[in-house]
Amino acid sequence: MPLINPPDLLQRLQHHLGLLVLGKSEQVKLALTSLVARGHLLLEDVPGVGKTTLAEGLARCFSMSFARVQFTADLLPSDILGAQVFLQAKGQFEFRPGPMFHQLVLADELNRAPPRTQSALLEAMSQGQVTLDGVTHQLPAPFAVIATQNPLDLAGTYPLPDSQLDRFLLRISLGHLAPEVETQLLMSRRADPLAGFKPLADAADLVALQAAADAVQISKDVAEYAVRIAAATRAHAEIERGISTRAVLSLMSAARAIALWEGRDFVTPGDVKLIAVPALSHRLLLKSSAQGTFARDEAAHLVGELLRKVPAPR
């Protein structure tokens, strides 16, 4: 395992990616955090704001193999996982791995695929392996999925069930660029921004970062704080169903990864606060029947409100 300085490496990666995805340093930070926490990332946004660029940039940064799958209504599980193919020459079946067998997979417009395909993907995400015809194939490590969803265009989509949303560590949205950043982009952008994008680290560095995140300690007070937040979501009047224990676990692993940015080997309440909205808001089932962007904003708002209400240890 390479010797790394996590905060330094993370800062450099953030800066590096910032050259590619302009004016989105916060989202870049969260995306990197998600990778370091071994999580999968859900990007929810309108098309054309750089979701694919960010995903591919992340893969390039770490010199990871990358595949993009455009999810459509007729996409089948075998299209992403791979299939047994009969080889005439050898006279036998052979497994042809699908795009899933890459280190970073971009599942574009995940909610356009039928539930069967979605769940095939989600199984791979949670298990880190794929089982086909009774044979289990290990996925490459490190492995991460970045899925995108268009929150506005809901016609002909299969919204992800809550249990499946739960598998994404963080949900972020990029949003439109600030006018001055957009101007800068128009003036500087060449044909393919990714063409000259050089890796900064390799997959081993990512594994090292992940190990460093695992070593981050959580004190009892901070754990209790997280539990209080979870309990508050469960007791809130406007929330139909609060977050699960798995969600609290996810919250804490994201908080561990965030702590690395400061070079700390322990989690502070501030880390939890920082990560709570992207880590929790997509897991809440609200009472109001709002959908799309509005529901997203409302959930984020509710989590923010809970963070203000639940007293942090001090």
């Binding site: 004190s219 007070d221 009047a237 080997d265 322990f266 989690v267 502070t268 501030g270 942090a312």
Partner: protein, 667 residues
């Protein structure tokens, strides 16, 4: 629990609170019966879920206004006490509100009206029952209000977990009660009850037959009543468990054929009354309890002196004057719930009467008397001429030949003849009357004495029960003065209470006494006494000293008890505070550093913004290029490490970090 169940529960609790306050008023016995009936009906309907006024609010108000006019008309004309009228109206308002539309504001109106009832009841009665009603009103009203408050933020069809909510509300109620009691004990008491209209003798009423006349006829259950009417400490202390002595209350001198009465004239009130020579007398420290229900002083036979009396009134203990009425009785001049006084008696030296006119009056027979009475007396006296001897013979005959009974239904024309010749059975008053009248026919001056016979030891005192009430005769012998004769057979003397009932009543009396002395009559003086005894306990707090009722000499010992009590109170307050604040009990050592850090930041004009904490502050300061950005970052970082990273902070390091904030700019 869903909306409908919640509502039912809330209304039940509210109705129970209202019922409690109504009970407090009703137990005072002052409320007109029709108001009670109306409220009872309203309560029944409300508990049954019927609310007829829900649809006709206007009509009910009209009816209520009519009743208000009626009640206050009665009060104005003096047929109803004003307070009672007000309480009656509050009762009706409570009932009307209970039957109206059950909104939270209606609940509050019901509870408010109930609170008024509670206040009114305090003016009408201060019994221990009032305390119980007050307690249950407090509990039910708090729970009901708690339900209303919980109701607020809950959606219509949301389920409410009742147990945790009720647990929290109950803890609150318990704390409030404890707080109320502490306030009561600790806060200097003012004599707040100016109305002073409390009924005296408790729920069971005054029970003795100690009236200014004794009417023959009828029976009664007084013999089985175990209520304690009198308690006495006797000095020198008798050894007997059962005292079996006569306690003299009052004398009756005139009999009209049906009833005995006294004809003496009251004298001027004075603090002490001397009836004879008090040397070598038996000293009694007597308490007349509220159950006594009379103001006549009682003393062991024969009382020679009644000492300074204290009346326990609603505004505290007051010295009371005594009035001597002829040679009949000594009574207390001022009204009170209970009295204490000293009596001195001599059983060895009978009293003498020298006035021939008085003696003549005591030979007077009723205007109509059955001739057989006189014949019987003559026959029984036989050859005896000495008044004492005659009396002894008559007494013996009555004891041996007539039956004791309490079952004497109906009124008869001539109770004395009926007793002697028809039924041949009667109770103590009959025996006493027969003996007295027959002796008078023989020219012996007699008088009937009303009082008690008995006395039973309870710890260091003797108690006398209502059932011990008795009547007997004193006959005048020129040689020996007044001599006591008791014609009642032995089984008719003393009380015959049932043991279990006696025990229950004893407990009730004790409770009631506690309530009176510790709550109703608890005054600033009592508080002061309590504190003084705590600080300076009596030098020798042994039994004998208490018995002698001497004022304890101020001791010079260190107030150990006071220090211990203060210590215990301090610890209790600290524990409660720790429990309430919770978090500070497990205060992390680094938290002190944070407090110091925040104070230091405040000194150097660095303020946290809304929603900002010490963890986020350095970032902002860095953006603002604040001169303290770096030391603040270090301090914040170090705090977080100490607090959440398990790297404790040494004192010197802590001081260095703090000092860096106030150090000169260039350092």
């Amino acid at each position: 629990m869903n909306l409908a169940e919640r509502r039912t529960l809330r209304l039940r609790l509210r109705d129970l609170a209202a019922a409690s306050s109504f009970a407090a008023v009703a137990l005072s016995g002052a409320l007109p019966i029709y108001v009670s009936i109306v409220f009872g009906a309203a309560l029944f309907l409300s508990l049954a879920g019927q609310r007829p006024f829900e649809r006709h609010p206007a009509w009910s108000v009209v009816v209520l206004l009519g009743l208000a006019v009626l009640l206050f008309g009665l009060a104005f004309r003096g047929q109803l006490d004003l307070v009672v009228a007000a309480v009656a109206f509050a009762t009706l308002v409570t009932g009307q509100r209970m039957l109206s539309e059950p909104t939270p504001s209606t609940d509050q109106q019901v509870l408010l009206a109930s609170l008024l009832l509670m206040t009114g009841a305090a003016a009408l009665s201060g019994e221990i029952w009032y305390a119980l009603c007050l307690l249950s009103f407090g509990v039910f009203a708090c729970l009901s209000l708690g339900m209303t408050v919980v109701e607020g933020p809950i959606e219509r069809d949301e389920e409410l977990p009742l147990a945790p909510v009720m647990r929290q509300v109950s803890i609150g109620v318990a704390l409030a009660l404890v707080g109320g009691v502490s306030f009561f004990i600790l806060f200097p008491r003012l004599s707040w009850n100016l109305a002073s209209r409390r009924t005296g003798p408790g729920l069971l009423g005054g029970t003795t037959g100690m009236t200014d006349r004794v009417r023959l006829g009828g029976g009664g259950d007084i013999k089985t009543s175990a209520r304690v009417v009198l308690r006495a400490k006797i000095e020198p202390r008798p050894t007997a468990e059962k005292l079996e002595k006569y306690w003299v209350g009052r004398h009756f001198d005139t009999f009209d054929g049906r009833e005995w009465r006294g004809t003496g004239q009251p004298e001027e009130p004075k603090p002490r009354v001397m009836l004879g020579d008090p040397s070598a007398a038996i000293i009694q420290r007597i308490e007349l309890l509220p159950a006594y229900g009379s103001r006549t002083l009682v003393g062991l036979e024969h009382p020679v002196y009644f000492g300074p009396a204290v009346a326990l009134t609603t505004s505290g203990a007051m010295p009371a004057n005594l009035i001597k009425v002829g040679s009949e009785e000594v009574r207390i001049a001022d009204d009170g719930n209970a009295y204490t006084y000293t009596a001195q008696s001599r059983d060895d030296a009978p009293m003498r009467e020298d006035d021939p006119q008085v003696l003549e009056a005591l030979r007077r027979l009723p205007p109509k008397i059955d001739p057989r009475v006189s014949e019987l007396a003559t026959r029984l006296a036989g050859s005896a001429t000495d008044p004492e001897q005659i009396a002894r013979r008559l007494e013996q005959w009555l004891r041996n030949n007539l039956e004791y009974t309490l079952e004497l239904p109906g009124e008869v024309e001539d109770p004395l003849a009926d007793f002697l010749f028809v039924r041949k059975a009667g109770h103590c008053e009959h025996f006493a009357t027969a003996l007295a009248v027959m002796l008078r026919t023989r020219g012996v001056p007699t008088r009937v004495v009303g009082g008690f016979f008995g006395g039973e030891r309870v710890s260091d005192r003797y108690v006398v029960r209502a059932g011990d009430a008795h009547a007997w005769v004193e006959a005048y012998s020129p040689a020996r003065g007044w001599v006591t004769f008791d014609a009642t057979p032995d089984d008719g003397r003393g009380s015959r209470p049932q043991v279990l009932i006696a025990k229950i009543l004893d407990a009730y009396e004790r409770l009631e006494e506690l309530w009176r002395s510790r709550v109703v009559d608890y005054s600033l003086i009592d508080q002061w006494t309590f504190v003084r005894e705590l600080i300076r306990p009596p030098a020798n707090a042994s039994r004998q000293q208490e018995d002698r009722d001497e004022r304890p000499e101020p001791s010079t010992r260190t107030p150990t008890r006071a220090i211990l009590a203060a210590l215990a109170a301090g610890i209790a307050v600290w524990v409660v505070w720790q429990r309430l604040t919770g978090a500070s009990a497990r205060r992390h050592p680094a938290a002190d550093f944070l407090t110091a850090l925040e104070r230091r930041l405040d000194q150097v004009q660095v303020r946290l913004r809304e929603g900002e904490d010490i963890e986020r502050l350095p970032e902002r300061l860095r953006r603002e290029h604040h001169r303290l950005a770096e030391p603040v970052r270090r301090a914040s970082r170090r705090y977080l490490e100490a607090r959440f990273g398990g790297r404790p902070l040494s004192k010197s390091e802590r001081q260095a970090l703090l000092d860096a904030l106030t150090a000169p700019r260039n350092s």
